[in-house]
């Protein structure tokens, strides 16, 4: 198993600096999710760990070994690509066993390991098919199977679920989490989807423009975002931000409150606005309130509530759920 260490890693493509100076520790056996908007350098970081992209400076250690200048196959990693990258001319079994075929392992061993991986991923009946005869979810499993048979210290996933439809994605999230607890290897998972990050990670690393905004356990990031960027990125729907009098009264320049924490219809309210629109989702209701100064405020209330559009709404911002930021940082409390 392996811990992954990035020490002052930089990466430029020509004159554009994509990763300015990044140090990161991924603990042994953790499920670490790198999350951030697209184009923020997540794939680049993952590809540098994999050895598919050279670092411009800095060093990378895997399991205590400096692998900065090692070949991808010498790093003890396996990677699952967004496009799956299955070899179209090979059967499922050959795809899964290709690494062992190249390493000239005995046939019996290859068959055994392929079979084991197929069993874990329920691919036993598909071993003789070609990738184009498989569904998206099955292809994804083959790609994961190929990674498993490499028996890596570190699994790298680059947005592996983004080509799947919503229900399959939910199912694969569960399977990946189970796989992690079964194998226990370190997993580094890249996504732009904060739901995937929240549900699967033990450690989330939030990236913005090639820099780490914050890293920590999912609920720590949810409860105590260090910057407005993290506050807005983690949690759905996004946190409401208030600037101006409401914020300055409380001694900060940006005040954040999550939609699920705003009270609706209370007598001693903080703000008053007009209901623009509401969405009933069954389990809860999204209310979009228009305020003269602060613009649109999203409120999430439990249960199904029928609210009249255009009517007045009284909003309560509870003290204990306020996130206060000054100069782009959280102020304690």
């Amino acid at each position: 198993m392996g811990q992954v260490l990035l020490k002052s890693v930089r990466k430029s493509f020509g004159n554009t600096e994509v990763i300015p100076d990044l140090s990161l520790k991924v603990p042994d056996g953790s499920f670490t999710v790198l999350v951030g908007p697209s184009g923020c350098g997540k794939s680049t970081i993952l590809r540098m760990i994999a050895g598919l992209e050279e670092v411009s400076s800095g060093s990378i250690e895997i399991d205590g070994l400096d692998v900065t200048y090692k070949e991808p196959s010498q790093r003890g990693i396996a990677m699952v690509f967004q496009s799956y990258a299955l070899y179209p001319h090979m059967t499922v079994a050959e795809n899964i066993g290709f690494g062992m075929i190249l390493a000239k392992r005995p046939n019996a061993e290859i068959n055994k390991r392929v079979r084991e991986a197929a069993e874990i991923l329920q691919l036993e009946n598909l071993l003789d098919r070609k990738p184009k005869q498989l569904s998206g979810g099955q292809r994804q499993r083959v790609a994961i199977g190929r990674a498993i048979t490499r028996d890596p210290k570190v699994f790298l996933f680059d947005e592996p679920l983004s080509n799947l439809d919503a229900s399959l994605r939910g199912q694969m999230r569960v399977e990946l989490a189970e796989l992690h607890s079964k194998i226990g290897a370190t997993m580094i998972y890249v996504t732009h989807d904060q739901v995937e990050a929240m549900t699967m990670a033990d450690q989330i690393v939030v990236l913005n423009c090639g820099r780490i905004e914050q890293q920590g356990a999912p609920m720590d990031l949810y409860d105590g975002p260090e910057t407005p960027f993290v506050a807005g990125f983690i949690g759905a729907p996004s946190m409401n931000f208030f600037e101006g009098p409401v914020a300055s009264q409380l001694g900060c320049d940006t005040l954040g409150v999550r939609p699920e924490h705003i009270g609706l219809g209370d007598e001693n309210c903080t703000l008053e606005g007009k209901i623009r629109y509401s969405e009933q989702l069954g389990s809860d209701t999204m209310v979009y309130v228009q305020h003269e100064v602060y613009g649109q405020i999203t409120v999430r209330v439990e249960g199904s509530r029928k609210l009249e559009i255009g009517s007045r709404a009284r909003l309560l911002l509870p003290e204990e759920f306020m996130h206060k930021f000054r100069g782009g940082r959280r102020i304690s409390g």
């Binding site: 598919l52 396996a78 070899y87 179209p88 390493a103 490499r150």
Partner: protein, 289 residues
């Protein structure tokens, strides 16, 4: 089907058939004429009879043609030279293209541009300098060491192995393949040559077939100027030079048609075989669609 659609369809087919006929007429003329005696051939060529198997048909021209020129030798030479060149060209061009597309090395884009630029240089302009070069190159053959490549197979093969068009075809095709396949193979522990041999080439059926057909046609059909310059001995002559045997005292048109029919056969056979392989390889790799 509505009437106007039907008319459109009919017109379309008439047009297509007409175009097909224009292309096929010379070939029909050649084959039909090869069975006619010279006198009738000349008389028929003024009318539609030129395309019809009528009158006095025989294999006379064929046996006469075989008597006049060593056809079997020329055929062997041409097919041998073409086949070896095509195989080496496919191998070297695909390796070069692989390196241009997938490997990082200093100056590769400049070199690629230079190679593409050679595309616009006609062979005629380099024929004489090339002759001077090959005339001074050493060669180690079965009969020992000598200087100068004239009068040999290799002088007709080696200068034509690499060409810009074939490399370009492979480069374009490789660029469209997903790079993740190469990266996945690298992670799986494949060496660069194994990536080429076990991942890229098995997916390259369509471009291999296309490049092979083009290269075969160019090689087989253009063996004229260069062989005249470098091959004086009959032993190494290709079929195109064989034509001059038929333009001596009086031109024997019937025999020429017979000769042309014979030397067209390899092209036809090669084309039919590869076209099939071409379609099959697209269907099996499943890269497109």
């Amino acid at each position: 089907m509505p009437a106007h659609k039907f008319v459109r369809l009919v017109l379309k087919y008439v047009l297509l058939a007409w175009i097909a006929l224009i292309f096929i007429f010379p070939i029909v003329f050649m084959v039909i004429s090869s069975f006619k005696p010279d006198l009738q051939l000349l008389r028929d060529s003024a009318s539609l009879r030129a395309f019809l198997p009528v009158g006095d048909l025989s294999l006379e021209n064929y046996s006469a043609a075989f008597d006049r020129a060593p056809i079997r030798l020329f055929m062997f030479n041409s097919v041998f030279i073409t086949a070896v060149t095509v195989c080496l060209s496919l191998l070297l061009s695909s390796l070069a293209a692989f390196s241009f597309v997938f490997l990082q090395w200093f100056g590769r884009s400049v070199l690629m541009a230079v190679i593409l630029a050679t595309f616009i240089v006609p062979f005629e302009t380099i024929a004489v300098p090339l002759l001077l070069i090959v005339n001074n190159l050493p060669w180690l053959g079965l009969d020992g060491f000598k200087t100068g490549w004239l009068n040999s197979y290799h002088v007709q093969i080696i200068p034509f192995i690499a060409d810009a068009l074939t490399i370009f075809l492979f480069v374009q095709y490789f660029r469209d393949l997903p790079t993740e396949l190469v990266e996945a193979a690298r992670i799986d522990g494949a060496t660069w040559f194994q990536v080429y041999r076990r991942v890229i080439i098995p997916l390259s059926g369509p471009v291999i077939a296309t490049a092979a057909i083009l290269k075969f046609l160019v090689m087989y059909n253009n063996q004229l100027l260069w062989p005249i310059m470098v091959v004086q001995e009959e032993t190494y002559r290709p079929v195109m030079l064989g034509l001059q045997y038929f333009f001596q005292l009086n031109t024997a048109w019937g025999e020429i048609m017979a000769y042309l029919t014979i030397i067209t056969l390899p092209v036809l056979a090669f084309y039919l075989v590869l076209q099939r392989a071409f379609i099959a390889s697209i269907a099996s790799t499943g890269i497109k669609g």
